[in-house]
Symmetry: C2
Subunit: 154 residues, 2 copies
């Protein structure tokens, strides 16, 4: 853990608020070098997925020309929300460090804990109702996937 | 629920495998019209966040010029993974419909349930270790946010 990278994430998050964005930033570090940075730009880009970690992961993967963050560390100004945590698990960095906690975020009006709570509920009981529609062709995409010999797994 | 939209998502997901992508697709519908569609393009675009729902949400928000999917329904070929579920909660559509289940996805080799399980663990105990680093300036971005009178909440 290099505290300078965490400081950089915190400063970037603070600066991002001055630019009109949300108070979050993240840095991807490989072999001691910051290869990508991201700050929350949901409102500026009309993209609800443009959280700091998502922006940083996408940029780091662009730089690396890969869809995995193998051997990378991610420094976050704040504990990731469930969406970003899911994204980090798909990107598979080696380690994640964060400064502010989910409780700090909640106190500032960002209640990620609501979403953490929702994920633990059965789909039909969530605040946004999720309905499973049984369809005889539902597994067809997976059959096509299984049948493809040259597929690129991810 | 319009079964034609679910069929369209399933067909798009199947077609996406033929194009070399993952077996997933999603559709965003507003006022009975499909305004955006997305298919998994993680490997083609080197973007681990490019799941069908994320791609469809970003496209729908671009079309609407908004960072919320107010009044929209989302049709998914498969039950969303935790990242996509988090993204859906941030995008706030009205309803979500899905065809294949997380169990179907797991049987096809996409074990989102691992990530669902990881989210329920305390950060330090996860497969990718997440370390909270106490830093006296950790809350500075939130202080800047609180002090900004013209902030755009999201």
């Amino acid at each position: 853990m290099n505290p300078a990278f965490l400081q950089e994430a915190i400063e970037h998050a603070t600066e991002n608020v001055r630019r009109g964005g949300g108070p979050f930033a993240a840095l991807v570090v490989k072999a001691g070098v910051a290869i990508a940075t991201g700050a929350n730009c949901v409102t500026a880009t009309n993209d609800p997925t443009a959280h700091a970690e998502i922006v940083a992961i996408r940029e780091a993967c662009r730089v690396l020309g890969a869809f995995q963050l193998t051997g990378c560390d991610v420094y976050c100004s704040c504990e990731p929300c469930p969406m970003c945590l899911g994204a980090l698990f798909w990107a598979r960095p080696t380690r994640i460090f964060f400064a502010a906690t989910a409780q700090d975020a909640a106190a500032a009006g960002f209640d990620d804990s609501l979403i953490y709570h929702q994920l633990a509920l059965p789909p039909a009981g969530r605040a946004i109702p999720m309905t499973h529609v049984a369809d005889p062709s539902a597994r067809r995409p997976f059959q096509a996937w299984a049948a493809r010999p040259d597929k690129v797994r991810y």
